[in-house]
Symmetry: C2
Subunit: 523 residues, 2 copies
């Protein structure tokens, strides 16, 4: 396997090359010497070890070396191109409460926006400004000259056709902006008008059809810079961009399509003829019935869609009916980030669930209950005591550091430092309000044995044994220092539930009962 | 001159083809018939008249037809590429108060950011959050995972190298975002540390040097999609973009450069070797001393720079010194819009100034003062009365509709409707609080003649004559309707200053005295 030296060295994961706190590289590419070569390479323990000609040593996991290329998912390669019939069984949608409460639902909605370009949330409270709250569940609102949010209803002196009752053909918004907002949200507050239905067209699909049917027209639209313009008293925007934008590999990455705001092209006559022929052909494709996905937004529906891919349309409506949407813009990068983070959290919840159901069903260090039973009891006790969610989670997860097969060390007399290991592991997803009590729950035992008469005598036999391994009761000085820690009270509370949670006969809820609470804390 | 028919028709300016209220096109390109041709074309009165094969008629100003191509100014074609020596006489900078008070100063700063990629405002109050106010003078703040604003100072557990005291080589920010924020602002609150100076490099200039010296390396960097990545507990961003982005015409349009956040490229080995050779060569160019513009930000300085063109750097600083910047992101499109609108306003102020100094120095409809003298007196009377700025402006500009050579009509007995003409013209830059009293100042005369005993008798001879042309005193019903208008009181106030302002001997300030007041009202 050939290993390009600068590439390999640029990816060195050691603590000298990358800041261990944030993973960012600590050297510049120009810091590497000329004629860098690999002096030695050896494979062992699933790693490739490299000795470099400048004396540096690197170590790479073999499975990292073997990883397949992936992409950022933004070009046509990362999308599911569609036509209307593909949604005959229904469009991607979810209930607002389920979306808020369940990371799996939320990931499904965001994944649909990334893959299909849109999704609809149902049951979003039809109150003014709510569309901003929807956007903030996955990203940041992009303010424009239309405001932080805009009202789509008939206006007396509209600065945009959107604010009239006219039909609007499929188009993308704000093409005269660069950077153009990559997401749009439309939240329906009222739609009792006759007409005013919504339509979507997959602009990538339309562009792919043009490429298939008329490759030269497609090429013309990718290389002609079209001036998109918008002007009113306080605004004068212009962006020169092709109708079909390709990435550096020639894949469709962006569609801008809005006849209303195309300004005056200034090109040689033959190029203008060629552009207008291609533009008319592309426009005709976007109007094909099989590409028009039509649906009606009712009060409480919020449509989220990709504004650099999907074209949106509206049928005309009667002015005496009432129709009021509120919209805002946001961006795909934050939505994709939220999607990735949600998937990490879902994977973590699945891993924890597997521990509770697999390894956790094993004997718990000589206690009468299993590990899972002990932790579920601790969580249930915290819940029954009316503890806030972060303490219920800490009680539930306090011994998670025993998982991964290290619990036995402790019983053999070696401190497995399970409180630190658990807290560090949980810190990937939970804040210090959860990880703090986990980290301190062993110290809390040593503290209580010192400051509370009779506490040590109530310890279980196994717990008395591990107390010795963990350092025994605190000195008075240690206890005073512990009590002064900001999370000491929380840690003591968790410790008390820990001690109580060893009842072999207690009926406890399963892990699924706590999953929503954990999901909500992964903020 | 060949006239491509679809191009020409798409640009028809008639009221059927474009919404007169907002200038947006009212037809789709597919609405035009197949085989559209020009049946007749005639030139007269500076216009081209066209009769189309579908019967539509269009009329185009010849000077519109003759316009030269322009661009959006975002590629290298719209920039002034630089090296450090080009700023030996000083960097683009302005005083914050001057920037706020004078559109010419503000346009100079924004123009420098557009053309040279940066400017520094001095004397910006060094208080927390002020950087957001700076951004809002020309656009909208772009929120990111670093917050709406971010603090650049040493942090205990930084998620980014920026928040340490280490030196940082020239780079662009947030390359893992798409859309990437196109502007960055850095506002210095405190910089008493040793070191911590700022550096800028023109990334377009560096890229152009690479193209000149090593065209194949340049080509490699424009076609290699580089995965930029950032990950922490709540974030997982990735954007695959070339280091040097070209527009559809092959011009440099965007530079992304940040070694810290380049993830793992996955390409065939030969391509990785070629990429790393080109990347190292480009990185070395960005470090050339002649490209490093270095300066120090002191408290109250706010640097604004183009984040898709300029690379910014920082020297290391001593941790025991104190250094605190606040930054935020924004976008170039809004800044370019603000620049264009400012230039429109400056041109309008210049035009008004020319009226006052040229045409306005002429006889005023038989009065003893000139038109300019009359209007300046009216403005001065309003100011002396302590009127709010919008009324001073309305008094100053109330007769602006006489300009353009139509005043004579009125004296010949034809109503030139100068109040409407003036208000409509002013509405390009001023809000209704200014244009309203201008529009109603003739009606206010007719109103006062009806409701106020002795008012008519005090009119000047010329004003009595024009009263007749304008419809005479109002009926009682008309007067009641007028009095109920929201702007009636303002119009009456302006009218009284109007009547008073005919003193041939009054000393009045020149137009320049009122210019800042007008500039501030053009919001």
């Amino acid at each position: 396997m050939p290993l390009p030296p600068y590439w390999l060295r640029d990816n060195c994961p050691c603590g000298e090359c990358r800041d261990p706190r944030n993973g960012q590289k600590l050297f510049q590419i120009t810091d590497l010497p000329e004629d860098l070569t690999i002096d030695e390479r050896t494979e062992a323990d699933g790693h490739l070890a490299v000795l470099w000609s400048d004396g540096h040593r690197s170590r790479y996991p073999l499975d990292w070396l073997a990883q397949e290329p992936s992409g950022d998912g933004r070009s046509e390669a990362g999308k599911r191109l569609w036509q209307a019939a593909d949604f005959a069984a229904g469009i991607p949608e979810a209930d607002w409460d389920a979306y808020l409460g369940d990371p799996v639902e939320q990931a499904a909605v965001l994944g649909a926006v990334l893959r299909s370009g849109f999704a609809v949330l149902r049951g979003v409270p039809p109150v003014e400004g709510q569309v901003l709250a929807v956007a903030r569940t996955f990203g940041y609102v992009r303010e424009t000259n239309y405001g932080e949010l805009f009202d789509v209803r008939v206006e007396a002196d509209p600065n945009n056709l959107a604010f009239t009752s006219a039909a609007i053909a499929p188009h993308s918004d704000n093409p005269y902006r660069d950077p153009v907002p990559t997401l749009q949200l439309l939240h329906c507050l009222d739609n009792s008008a006759v007409g005013g239905d919504s339509g979507l067209v997959d602009g990538f699909r339309a562009a792919a059809a043009l490429r298939e049917e008329a490759p030269e027209d497609f090429a013309v639209l990718t290389r002609t810079l079209v001036p998109f313009v918008f002007r009113d008293r306080g605004t004068e925007l212009r962006a020169d961009r092709p109708l079909i934008g390709l990435d550096a590999l020639g894949r469709i990455r962006e569609v801008r399509f809005n006849n209303r705001s195309i300004g005056t092209l200034r090109l040689p006559a033959a190029e203008l003829d060629a552009f207008y022929a291609a533009y008319r052909r592309f426009a005709a494709i976007t109007l094909r019935p099989e590409l028009q996905l039509e649906f009606r937004l009712g009060p409480g529906d919020c449509l989220i869609f990709d504004n650099v891919r999907l074209l949106h349309a509206r049928t005309a409506f009667e002015q005496n009916g009432s129709r009021h949407l509120q919209g805002c813009y946001a961006d795909l990068d934050s939505l994709a980030s939220a999607f990735a983070v949600l998937n990490r959290r879902i994977a973590a919840l699945d891993t924890i669930a597997e521990y509770f159901e697999g390894e956790g069903a094993a004997e718990y260090l000589g206690e009468a209950v299993t590990m899972a039973g002990h932790m579920l009891q601790a969580g249930a006790l915290a819940e029954a005591a009316g503890a806030p969610p972060h303490l219920v989670a800490a009680a539930l997860l306090h011994d998670v550091g025993h998982f991964g097969g290290t619990g036995l060390d402790l019983m053999e007399g070696r401190d497995n430092r399970h409180s630190d290991a658990g807290a560090d592991w949980l810190a990937q997803w939970f804040g210090p309000e959860v990880t703090g009590p986990v980290r301190l729950h062993v110290a809390a035992k040593r503290y209580l044995c010192t400051v509370e008469a009779g506490y040590r005598a109530r310890l279980s036999e196994a717990s008395e044994f591990t107390l010795q391994v963990q350092g025994g009761p605190m000195t008075d000085e240690q206890a005073a220092a512990f009590a002064a820690l900001p999370g000491a009270a929380d840690a003591v509370a968790v410790r008390r539930w820990d001690e109580e949670a060893k009842d072999a006969d207690a009926a406890t809820p399963g892990f699924g009962h706590f999953r929503p609470l954990l999901a909500a804390l992964m903020g």
